[in-house]
Amino acid sequence: MADLSLRRVDKTFGDVEVIKGVDLDIASGEFVVFVGPSGCGKSTLLRLVAGLEDITAGELWIGGQLVNDEPPSRRGIAMVFQSYALYPHMTVWQNMSFGLKLQGMTRAQRDEKVKEAARILQIDHLLDRKPRQLSGGQRQRVAIGRAIVRQPRVFLFDEPLSNLDAALRVQTRIEIAKLHRAMQATMIYVTHDQVEAMTLADKIVVLNAGRVEQVGSPMDLYHRPANKFVAAFIGSPTMNFLPVEFAGSDGATLDLRLASGAIVQIAAPKGRLRGHRFTLGLRPEHLHVLSDAAPLRGEAAAVENLGGESYLYVDIGQPMPLVVKAPGDCAIRAGEPVGIGLPASKGAYLFDQQDRAVASA
């Protein structure tokens, strides 16, 4: 267990700046998830922490020690790679104990450690197999087991679930969360999947083009996104965005004019409004179908019935259809007219011209 601090960390490959001035504090025992679209620099940031890449500028502290110039092996970390990185010619036992030999452990000590980790991960019956004789999920466990036996201060995971099928992904996700609770170790976890981020993290770090967009707890990010990028990234299906104009306010409510000329009313945000033009953000799960007197009307362009819920793609004369979450038994068919109700108090987000959030009610 150790805490980490990143101070204005930069990384350039040639003249391409991939990580741009990242400042971040990670408390001991925290589960931190780096999330962001593909190519935003998540893996690179993780590899900087691991020491697999050199930090171009800035400082990295682990457990109160400046480790910029320490080799990976001296940072007290263990890493689980996306491709598992198992040694193909070694058995599971050899894979898990290979790194321990150097810590001067006897064979019996190593064996004890490996067996214990294998028991936790339920792979004790696989110790004599080679990686190619294992399924993807089993390989994944071996890779995690290999990290556990090292007893690192910080665990690093780079998209560990992306090679698993959907069912196994959910199962392994839950097990990783359990493992974190049991070990109380600091974990940094990289993913492009916001569901993994929401379900696993104590703290989410949203990255975009090498910059930190926002740091916060999953609920923070969901309810109080700092900007349009975070709002769009967190939550599924993604938030709807509508360009709007200020049309009046009575202090408690705010009137906004849509491009179509229709006026919608939302709870007035706390912050002062600057300017006239805004982007209104509405999450699909905060919208509902109304039969009459609906503030928004349109035509269902497509309907996805998932059983437990339905998603309506409603054409309201905007470039993108409005996505509305409806109950699973929703009877609306494609082509039919739909009325949409807005959230009464919470659930409407307003962004200014620079895509920054206007503090909501």
Partner: protein, 302 residues
């Protein structure tokens, strides 16, 4: 279920048919350019054919082979060839591995260097052998000149005449010529190795030397084995390099050179064919042993 099995086997049969269709041209060409000469050679080896009257020959059974196995010159050639093969292939493997490891590192101009390394291999053997013959010349050769001027030797060495030195010279040239090929074969194997395993070893703090012996070498074994087989089979047939540098000299005569001497110089087609056939048998035997020991086929399947 039965219908499905039937459909499967019909598909299998059709695949087999097209496989044969694609293989046929190659098999025909192989039969013409390799199979036919081989059969001719084997059949000549049981006759007393002479180069001047190939058609007027008679079957003499194993007589040629009996003579061959009693000829000390033939055994000398076998010994030379095996010595040449073992020593040159060993040196080439070790050097090739070292060069491949160096070329696999990341540095500027790597692509250029990789191409440059291949030059000795790209030069036709006859040309490079002739070049080296001049360089090894005891009177005006550059090798002696360098070794004299640096004080390594005090008087010129007769590289191509001295029985001990001439084999060393031939092996040196073969190493110079073939190591790049070996290095490239091994480099191809190196580039297939999983990079993240090395990163994991780095995080674990495994010493690079340990990584080399415990990770790189075991993973590289199949690639090295293939390269060694290629080179061994090639070295067992060595002809041009030695012939250009040394001609028919006893000290360096290989099995191929012996066969050629019988066939062409002594015009004894029957006897020469027997030598060539025996050479073929020895190479075939080596191939089988290698494939068996290396377990290449089994490893692919596992």
């Amino acid at each position: 279920m039965a219908a499905r099995a039937n459909a499967g086997s019909a598909l299998t049969r059709q695949r087999l048919k097209s496989a044969w269709l694609f293989l046929t041209p190659m098999l025909v060409v192989l039969a013409l350019v390799a199979g036919w000469p081989l059969l001719r050679t084997i059949s000549f080896s049981f006759t007393d054919a002479h180069l001047s009257n190939l058609d007027d020959s008679s079957f003499i059974g194993f007589e040629n082979y009996v003579f061959l196995l009693q000829d000390p010159d033939w055994w000398r050639a076998v010994q030379n060839t095996i010595f040449f093969t073992v020593v040159s292939v060993s040196i080439e493997t070790v050097l090739g591995l070292l060069i491949a490891l160096a070329l696999n590192a990341h540095f500027k101009g790597r692509g250029l260097l990789r191409a440059a390394v291949l030059i000795p291999w790209a030069i036709p053997t006859v040309v490079s052998a002739q070049m080296w013959r001049w360089m090894f010349n005891d009177v005006y050769g550059v090798i002696n000149e360098i070794m004299l001027s640096t004080g390594l030797i005090t008087e010129p060495w007769a590289w191509l005449a001295d029985p001990q030195l001439s084999m060393a010279a031939v092996i040196a040239v073969d190493v110079w010529k073939t190591t790049p090929f070996m290095a490239l074969l091994i480099l191809a194997g190196l580039q297939m190795l999983p990079q993240d395993c090395y990163e994991n070893a780095k995080i674990d703090g495994v010493h690079p030397v340990v990584v080399f012996f415990k990770v790189t070498l075991p993973l590289l074994k199949p690639a090295i084995l293939v390269a060694v087989i290629f080179r061994t089979l090639d070295a067992l047939r060595i002809f041009d390099l030695i012939y250009v540098m040394q001609g028919n000299k006893q000290d360096t005569m290989s099995m191929s050179i012996y066969a050629r001497q019988q066939l062409v110089d002594f015009q004894d087609v029957g006897y020469g064919s027997a030598a060539a056939t025996l050479l073929f048998m020895i190479i075939a035997l080596f191939t089988v042993i290698y494939l068996y020991l290396g377990g290449i086929g089994r490893e692919e399947k596992a």
